[in-house]
Structure formats: C-alpha cells, structure tokens
C-alpha cells in the first residue's frame, strides 16, 4: 500500500477524464457502457451504488451485484439468468425485487417447483379456483403447506409466464389478493416489461388482460403504451394488437394513432398488412405488393398504409403482375386493399372510430368471398370423394 501521499497525488486524473469523455459521447445500454469503460462485470459491481439505474436493453448475465444497492433500479427488456448474482443486494422497489423473492423461495423450498409446475400446467379451472379462493381450494396435498406469502410469490411468477388466458385473467382479477399494495401491483407490471418481452404470445396475452383490467391505473397505462414504442417490431405489434379492444385504446386513441402511423412504425404496419393478406388468400397478397408475388413475401416488400388506395400505386401493382393469367384490375386491387384494411387488427378499429364509409361494405364483401371460397372448396372435396368412392 502506498503511504503518506495526498489524494491529489494519487488521483488518477487522466484515466478518469478519459472515462468521462467516453461516457459523454456514448448513449448505450448499461451493459454496453460497462464494456466501453473496460470494467469487469464479475468484480466491479459488488457493494456498488446503482440506485435508480435504468437497465433497459442491458444484458446482465454474468454480472455480480453482490451487496450492491439496486433500490428503485428499473428498465424494460433486461436480460438476466442464474449467473446474475444478487446475493445480499438491496432490491426494494426495483425490477429485481420479485426475482430475489422467487429465488429465495425456490432455493429454500424443495416442493415449490412441484407446486409451481402444477399451477402452470394444471387444469385452468382448478387453478383459477385456487387463485380466486386465495389458496383455500387445494389442488393437491402438496399445496397444504404453502403459506399466503409463498402463494403470492408463486402467483406473481405465474402471471408473467406462458400460461393460458383463463389463468391469466383470473390472476389479474385477483391481483389484490397477492399484491400487498399499489406499488406491489406495479412491480408485477414492471417485472413483466423488464424480463418477459421475448415471447409475443405472452406479451399479447398479458397486455390485453392488463389493459382490460387495469386501464385506469396510470402507471400500468403508461407502461403498456411504452411497449407500443418498443424497438422490437414483434413486441410493438403484439402490444398494439393486445390493446386494440381495450378501454386503454379508447382512452388514448389520439396518442395511439399518432404512434401507430408514425414513420418508424412502418415495419409494424407492413407486418400486420401482410399477415392479414396471407390469411385472406393469395389474391389479396398480390394486391399489396409491387413485386407481382402471391406468396414468399417479406414484410419490407409490402405496401405501407399510405400507399394503399392510391391510383398511381394501383398501376404499379397491376404492372407488376406481368403475364399472369388473371391480372387484377385497378378496381379489384382497390377492393381487396379495402378488405385487407377492414380485416386487419388495429387498422380496422382505427378506421371504424374514424367513421370510414367503405369499411362495413368491405367487411361484408370479404365475408361473402370467404363463404364462396369455402363453398367451392367443399364442392371440390365432394367431387373428389365421389370420384374415388367405390
């Protein structure tokens, strides 16, 4: 150890100044800033102060936060796993609070895993009964020794997991039974957006139920709406589609429209248009691209909303059909584009709210086409069966 020198003599000024310059110039997630500064995730963050840090989009796998102060740390899309060490860390009010409770429960209690699997994979109505009865209605003997506190931890874990809609809806409706306060309830939502945005079906399910049940909670609304501005197209698409039929959508229609139709959400719009067109059939797909394709189309090749119902674009689409046997006329292209929009999630709701005059006609027309198409298919099947029957 050096001895008898002043802090000024030992102060590594140039090293710190370099670090400061790097920090001033960079706008990166937490884990990338760590890398930029050449810090070591295995050692440097023990006993550290990380209160109110935003861990959004950070990869915290392998980080050692032993003894660190992580109170009120927050973020969305945070990657962690068993290698993220939170031993002895202060986690109150942070996105790690539920996680540490879970880890403690599963480490200390051998039957917790069995009970949790029973909840996750068990009959939806039996599990819903257990939830709504606040644990009184037992699923099996193993549930007998589960305390109220442990039940709460299991429910908070279950609600963000990949479960069916019945269980998730029941969990949301009985949130007050396993959350002690408003902040605890918000912790459930924070936990979800922090760690569970990798599964679009979970996002859709979670967000749609949360937006139905908790739309009046400002924090929940803000958090769900923030998912509509997420960097990942699939997350955004799932979020928009999930809130479409909820009170949250109706209460924030102007903001959501601005968001949905903004420039950087073109990929989301194209993705929805393409998926709807594919569902309706090859001819519909043909009507929304200028490549002349009826299948194997990438969403980037699809027309965006503002390009649809446009005379000039009709000509381009028509021209792209080249030497096809049945070329769609401009009129047919227009009608099919309208039917796509009338059936597309989010678009149809927005257009309905705007009182679009052709919407209902387009819906009816697409339904007629579908019925006729089904009739033709049934007829073909009957004829085939007749041909091959003895």
């Amino acid at each position: 150890m050096k001895n008898d020198i002043t802090i000024e003599e030992i102060w590594p000024e140039s090293k710190i100044r370099n670090a400061l310059t790097k920090l001033e110039e960079a706008d990166l997630p937490f884990s990338e800033l760590v890398e930029l500064l050449g810090m070591q995730k295995e050692n440097d963050f023990q006993n550290s102060s990380l209160t109110n840090v935003d861990f959004s989009n950070a990869d915290l796998r392998g980080f050692n936060f032993k003894g660190a102060d992580l109170r009120n740390a927050h973020g969305i899309d945070v990657q962690i796993d068993q290698t993220t060490n939170l031993t002895g860390a202060l986690v109150e009010g942070s996105i790690f609070q539920s996680l540490t409770e879970e880890r403690a429960l599963f480490e200390d209690n051998a039957s917790a895993t069995v009970v949790y699997e029973a909840l996750k994979h068990g009959d939806p109505y039996d599990v819903s009964g257990w939830i709504s009865s606040n644990g009184e209605q037992l699923l099996s003997k193993k549930f007998k020794n589960i305390t109220k506190q442990q039940s709460a931890i299991l429910c908070k874990k279950l609600i963000v997991d990949d479960i069916d809609l019945t269980k998730r809806t029941t969990l949301f409706y009985h949130l007050d039974k396993f959350t002690r306060s408003n902040s605890d309830l918000r912790m459930v939502v924070k936990n979800f957006v922090a760690f569970h945005l990798d599964n679009p079906s979970v996002i859709r399910s979670f967000v749609s139920v949360a937006a139905q049940v908790l739309s009046k909670d400002e924090f929940v609304s803000r958090t769900i709406l923030s998912l509509c501005g997420h960097k990942n197209v699939d997350v955004k698409e799932a979020a928009f589609m999930a809130i479409e039929k909820t009170p949250l959508f109706a209460c924030n229609i102007r903001h959501i429209c601005n968001l949905f139709f903004s420039q950087h959400n073109a990929p989301v719009r194209k993705q929805i248009i393409l998926k709807t067109a594919i569902k309706l059939g090859g001819t519909y797909v043909l009507s929304v691209n200028a490549e002349g394709k009826t299948s194997n189309l990438d969403s980037t090749q699809v027309l965006d909303y503002h390009e649809l119902l446009n005379e000039e674009i009709f000509l381009k689409v028509r021209a792209s059909q080249g030497k096809r046997q049945n070329i769609l006329s401009n009129r047919e292209i227009e009608l099919r584009q309208k039917e796509i929009l009338a059936n597309a999630p989010v678009f149809s709701t927005i257009l309905a709210r705007q009182g679009t005059d052709w919407l209902q006609t387009a819906i009816e027309r697409s339904q007629i086409r579908k019925r006729e198409s089904q009739k033709q298919l049934n007829s073909k099947i009957r004829n085939s069966l007749r041909r091959y029957s003895p």
Binding site: W11, L23, F30, V53
Partner: protein, 248 residues
Amino acid sequence: MINQNSFPDLCELLVEYQDNTEDENIQNCMVVLRVSTGEVQLGDHECTVEFNRLYISVDHEGMEVVSGSLFGEPKKPNEVNRTSELAHKRDTKRNSSGALDISRTAFAANSKTEFGYSEAMNQDIIVREEGTELRVKARPNLRWEVREPDGTPLNSTLLLNDRLVAFSKHSTANRRRSSLSLRAKQRDIQIKPHSGDAKTEKLFAYLTTNKKRLLDIFIAKSLHEAATSSQPYRGEILISQCEHDHEE
C-alpha cells in the same frame, strides 16, 4: 507496528497498543481515526470526495478478545425509557364578505353584493422522541461501522486514543499478531461537484443517472488500483491498514 494510510489527508487511522495497567497479560488497542472530505481536480472541474460510511475490521492471531472490551457496543438495556411529547395547536381563521347578484326584471335597478365564506385551519403536531445512536458501532466478527447517524458525510475525529478492543495473550501461542484495516464500500463514497463550481455542477447535471453511477464506480476502482495495486477490486477500497507483531 506498521501504520499505512492510502489517503492520509482524507482518512487517518493510527493504532497503538498499550499494556493494561491492571493486567499485564492484556493489551489495549488504542485508535485514532480522523476523516475529512477532499477536493480533487478533474480537468477544469473541481470535485469533492466524501465518505458516508467506513468499516474497521480487526484480525488477530494468538490472542483472545477480552469480553466486554469492544468500543461502541450497542447493547440495549432490557428496560426501555421513552419520552414522547405530543403538542397539538389549532389556529382557526374565518373570513367573511358578501356578494349577491340580484337582477329583477320588474325593476330597472340591478344590485350586486358579493359574499363568501372561508375557513382556514392550521394544525401543528409535534412528536418528540429521545434515544441515543452511536457513530462508531461495534458489529459482529470484530467489525465496527463508522457513520454519522443523520447520514451526513464523515468529516471529524471519530476516535481519539479510544480503546477499540483489548486482547489477552494466549499462553500457548507461539505467535501473536493483529491487523486492523479501514475500508469503504463504493456505495458509501460520494463524488460530487465542488459546491459553488457552476461549471462542474453543470457537467454532473448533464450526466444521466446511469453514467453518474458508472463514473463513481470507475473512480472508486481507479482509486483502489492506485492505492493498492496488488489486491483485486471487489467493490471496496482499502483505505488504511495497521499491522502489529505483539512479540516486539
């Protein structure tokens, strides 16, 4: 006796062993601990370095700790004396003025009188509670936590030739040694712009929470590496170390 202080102008830990006047087998570990805030340069900016909490830890070999000799033992008595005072003042103000809008079609004249009624109540509630806290508090395993009870940075003499602990010699031990160390966890070190330095305050205000936290950790690590290049950084800075061979 070897006393080593990495930043003697910020933290000074001095240790001296004295024979106990009543029992020659016992040695008292007398400690001086002075802590101050420091100012450092960061280019054109001036920053203040402060400690909010420090830990003293003691290791020993070939000796035993004399029971009851620990400084700052926070032993609580069985009986708890508590003084509570509740004062409730109530101050009521009333204002009244009048206004009434009368418009009568049968008469040409209109008259207007305004009136309103408001009542304001101020209530002061005072709760007083007495108790004692320790700046240097003994913790388990021969550790002492040093902090200001109100959470303000350490900036005074905390120990002045106070007996931190007493050791009795093991008759059968062939070696007697003790070591004291003074450490600070990164989360208990504060680096902030020097008060009144607007340029530095602006710089720090510009940094996001994430960047400020990372910079603080980076600085702590750099300080540790500058002071003790041999030991890896584990979120704590070794500020002082005193080793004593009791055979001398």
